[in-house]
Amino acid sequence: MGPAFPPNPAHNNMLFFSYFKELVGKEVTVELKNDLAIRGTLHSVDQYLNIKLENTRVVDQDKYPHMLSVRNCFIRGSVVRYVLLPQDGVDIDILHDATRREARGG
């Protein structure tokens, strides 16, 4: 049996990095670990899974008016809890194959 996790954490991220790059231009909602949820168009993502969004708006603006004058933002990957994807942004079969290949170690 192989190791439960790939030895290199940077390598571990590559799958999701590639996956999120495919989603550029799509509308996503990013929920942060402070409960703030920001919706916007995915502009870019890097190897740390830092995310840049355009045309952003906070999902619950009455509760969180802290970003009312922000329309473009950078979100640090380390504070992302969830990324809510558009329905057509998920191809289950491709993801299944990719994660299995990843689990086998490439």
């Binding site: 402070n34 890097d46 008016p65 004058s69 922000v70 933002c73 504070v79």
Partner: protein, 131 residues
């Protein structure tokens, strides 16, 4: 591999708003804002204000950043949210924030920001990030 660094080049020398992991909101913008809590308040103070030497207008911006998202802010201030009163602004000045402690770096739309009436804005402070 993608280019190293968080790609904040487009925000350098722009007016930005930072949310930190402990839930603070740090903004760089003209200090002049701080002197005008609201127009009605200004009206009451106008006889006094004319006698006070105003500090020079200095625009704050994002001065720099690195691959760990450490950032340097010039002329920054903190916006303190509360449910009891409007937003209070505390002057911080030159600030270096360690990347570990940064949640969001947003570009401030000056027009939208000017339209905000901070003295009427009430909200709970943001919760700290829990990893």
């Amino acid at each position: 591999m993608a280019s190293a660094g968080p790609g904040l080049e487009s925000l350098v020398d722009q007016i930005i708003s930072v949310i930190t992991n402990d839930g603070r909101n740090i903004v760089v913008s003209p200090l002049f804002d701080l002197l005008i809590p609201s127009s009605s308040f200004l009206f009451l103070l106008s006889p006094i204000l004319t006698r006070i030497a105003l500090p020079p207008l200095r625009q704050g911006t994002l001065r720099g950043f690195d691959q760990a998202t450490n950032i340097i802010l010039d002329e920054s201030h903190e916006r303190v949210y509360s449910t009891r009163e409007g937003v209070q602004q505390l002057v911080l000045g030159l600030y270096i924030i360690r990347g570990d402690n940064i949640s969001v770096v947003g570009e401030v739309d000056e027009e939208l920001d000017a339209r905000l009436d901070l003295s009427k804005l009430r909200a709970h402070p943001l919760k700290p990030v829990i990893h």
